[in-house]
């Protein structure tokens, strides 16, 4: 047995995970490449789906060979379909807008794949995420934003628990995307600007509405478009067709521009209103994960991201007796969406996050 620490690197064939693997090899780790084959539509041999094509597998295999590391593809289709795709369908059926990447990073990457990594004798699981882990004196791992602010992916990692993060390595998190490309070029690794990994990797065509109509027909039932005070202005085509804050495409004329304010799943209603009615100053969230294992205080100031690409907004987080949180923003937020993650930052550090239950 080698005395060097062993690390499994999750390879996708893309530039980020390839550079991550190369850096680990150079740093002297005993590196093993693994690729998860995830369930997706249209993903048989010769299927059209972009995230799972044999091409990417062949790329990853070639890169592993170039780096001189073993490489395995691990069949993750069944567990991914059961825990991530079904979750996505179920939450939409409940009129929420889930972020399956949060769940996937928690349960598939840092539970399933990490489990296989540890079981095969590895000490660490590395991915190509733009985020950083800092290990404190007391052994606790802290999750920091990636150095490239534009590429930071800590949001998607916010639901990982402390005992998992301890085993995480993000070798490219200290670099910008441009630097990573340069590192790839310098090592003769392919940098072909293939698509960055897409959010909903299991869709054949990226059209989640089409997918949901197929798998959660209940979420595509037409229903009333109502104002806050219950006046019906028209009929919607199914709640899944709308996003909170949306203005265009409502198909109704009104004295002032109308925005989607909320959904009312009990009545299958879409609630609309004018710009003045839009936005809330607070939200409540459940399923809260504290990366440190516990909140820093019962109440603390933080920067808050309410979706992956949202700009962080200042506010206050208050821990509730049931373990959930209430978040109060300094400024009203227009697109607080139940089912999305709200992620807490203090400076560069990601403290964790929760799943938005409702705006208030």
């Amino acid at each position: 047995m080698s005395s060097r620490p062993r690390v499994v690197v999750a390879m996708s064939g893309g530039v980020d995970s390839s550079v991550a693997a190369a850096l680990l090899v150079e740093q002297g780790y005993d590196v093993v490449g693994m690729m998860m084959r995830l369930w997706s539509e249209d993903c048989g041999e010769g299927g059209a789906n972009r995230c799972c094509t044999p091409d990417q597998m062949a790329d990853a295999r070639r890169i592993a060979a170039q780096l001189g590391i073993p490489f395995y593809v691990i069949d993750t289709q069944e567990i991914f379909r059961r825990t991530i795709v079904q979750f996505f369908i179920d939450r939409y059926a409940a009129a929420e807008t889930p972020n399956p990447c949060l769940q996937c990073n928690r349960h598939i990457r840092f539970e399933w794949l990490l489990g296989h990594a540890l079981a095969s004798g590895a000490d660490f699981l590395a991915t190509g995420h733009y985020a950083r882990v800092e290990r404190a004196q007391d052994g606790r791992a802290h999750l920091l934003k990636g150095r490239d602010a534009a590429k930071d992916q800590s949001y998607a990692l916010s639901m990982i628990t402390q005992d998992r993060l301890r085993h995480a390595l993000f070798p490219v998190g200290g670099y910008t995307k441009a630097e990573v490309r340069a590192l790839a070029v310098a090592r003769g690794l392919p940098v072909a600007a293939k698509h960055d990994s897409q959010d909903l990797c299991f869709l054949a065509d990226g059209d989640y509405r089409r997918f949901l109509r197929q798998h959660a027909p209940g979420a595509a039932r037409p229903g009333p478009i109502l104002t806050r005070d219950g006046q019906q202005l028209g009929t919607h085509t199914g709640l899944l067709d709308y996003t909170i804050g949306q203005r265009k495409g409502l198909g109704i004329s009104y004295s002032a521009p109308l925005y989607v304010l909320a959904t009312d799943p009990a009545r299958n209603a879409l609630i609309v209103g004018t710009a003045g009615e839009l936005g809330s100053r607070s939200l409540s969230a459940g399923h809260v994960n504290w990366i440190a294992g516990e909140p820093p205080a019962e109440r603390f100031a933080a920067d808050l991201k309410i979706r992956y690409k949202a700009r962080p907004a200042p506010g206050t987080v208050t821990v509730l007796p049931d373990g959930g949180v209430q978040v109060d923003f300094a400024e009203p937020q227009r697109d607080i969406t139940p089912g999305q993650g709200v992620v807490f930052y203090v400076g560069e550090e990601c403290l964790g996050g929760g799943i938005i239950a409702r705006s208030q």
Partner: protein, 397 residues
């Protein structure tokens, strides 16, 4: 890391003695066996010597031995030769085979049905993967008049190790006027082969399965077999397989077969003992594990299992990470684990058919290797099951 190779049914390392026998025929005695000059004579002499050796090991005549590029080609020629002969002579052709044949036979049989209109009859197997003689008799009923019929059944199954009584099958085939071919690719060095004694008409071998070179094999083909070669060209091998002789491969085949046959009884006894220890250890240490294939009448060095709720490729990855090279007999490298068609045929349910494991022992295998596997395998199976159960219980929905 320790390295324990338990995939001898997939391929074996070249025996150094075989390599030494082959060595002169790459560069020194490189002549074309068909050439008039002395370099050609030297090659021809080596090939004819090899042919005599192979014939002696197989219990047939030197003239029955056709050198090929391996087991797959031998199976192809064995099935296509009689089928094409029947076609050219305008006689109906019937092919009788089983559901657990190697793909080289199964896929060829399907293609002969589709291209030459062969009538294909598939005889069922029992839970061990063996054809019941009465089922074979039933399948041989009502053969077309003036037709040619060929029965092809595997001698020892590569995935599940079951050995079939091919001498009995050959006798039944002959009673019905049919020919008998067996894919004996797994047999040399493990099972006795005697074409005369067993009444075999055609037999396929692959040299790399018995410590010979890759890219070489044998089709043993009795003179009585109606045959029109599917590999045409100049008249090599008496018109039965065209193509310049692979002299080193042929010399290596004969050297390897001779060593395998000479050491067979001793090797089989040694490997059976180790295999039995392995099987008993696995079945007692791992819950929800079943032996696949026949418990007793199986290849001496072949242990195969099915594990409930395990994906073969994942298990093989963990074994490889522990320094153990194994196979499932059907696992794929692309992470898209399909059920084993053979395990399905044997009646295993969907929770078992993607969890096959094959551990095939060979000359290098030691008692310490078996102990190491019995140490690592239960842990690996448990880990694979535990990880899936953990994610299922903690994940939403």
């Amino acid at each position: 890391m320790q390295s324990i190779y338990l995939d001898h049914s997939a391929t074996t390392p070249l025996d150094p003695r075989v390599l030494a026998a082959m060595q002169p025929y790459f560069a020194e005695y490189f002549g074309n066996s068909k050439a008039i000059h002395r370099a050609g004579h030297l090659a021809e002499a080596a090939i004819e010597g090899a042919r005599a050796t192979v014939a002696r090991c197989l219990g047939c005549l030197p003239a029955d031995v056709v050198f090929t590029s391996g087991g797959t080609e031998s199976d192809n020629l064995a099935l296509r030769g009689p089928a094409q002969y029947a076609r050219v002579h305008d006689r109906p052709f019937t092919l009788i085979t089983g559901p657990v044949e190697h793909a080289a036979v199964a896929a060829t049989a399907r293609q002969l049905r589709d291209t030459l209109g062969a009538s294909l009859r598939v005889v069922p197997v029992d839970r061990t993967g063996r054809v019941n003689p009465d089922d074979l008799r039933a399948a041989l009923r009502d053969l077309p008049a003036n037709g040619i019929a060929l029965v092809s059944l595997i001698h020892a199954n590569n995935e599940i190790g079951t050995v079939s009584p091919v001498a009995d099958y050959a006798a039944i085939a002959h009673e019905h006027g049919a020919l008998f071919h067996t894919d004996a690719v797994q047999s040399p060095g493990h099972l006795a082969l005697d074409m005369d004694g067993m009444g075999l008409d055609l037999l396929s071998l692959s040299s790399h399965k018995f410590y010979g070179p890759k890219g070489a094999g044998v089709l043993a083909l009795r003179e009585r077999v109606p045959y029109l070669s599917a590999q045409t060209g100049a008249g090599h091998e008496d018109g039965r397989r065209a193509g310049t002789h692979n002299t080193p491969g042929i010399v290596g085949t004969a050297a390897a077969l001779e060593i395998a046959c000479a050491g067979r009884a001793e090797s089989a006894a040694r490997l059976s003992t180790l295999r039995q220890r392995l099987i008993e250890g696995v079945l007692s240490a791992i819950p929800d594990a079943e032996l696949t294939g026949d418990p007793a009448d199986r290849l001496p060095g072949h242990a195969s299992f099915a594990f409930r709720d395990v994906l073969s490729s994942t298990l093989l990855m963990h074994l490889d990470q522990r320094g153990i090279a194994a196979s499932s007999g059907s696992a794929c490298k692309s992470g898209n684990e399909q059920p084993s068609a053979i395990l399905e045929t044997l009646g295993f349910g969907p929770q078992w058919t993607r969890g096959g494991l094959r551990l095939s022992l060979g000359r290098s295998t030691t008692a310490a290797d078996i102990a190491a596997v019995l140490d690592a395998l239960p842990e690996a199976v448990a880990a694979v099951r535990r990880i899936a159960a953990d994610v299922r219980s903690s994940a939403p929905a």
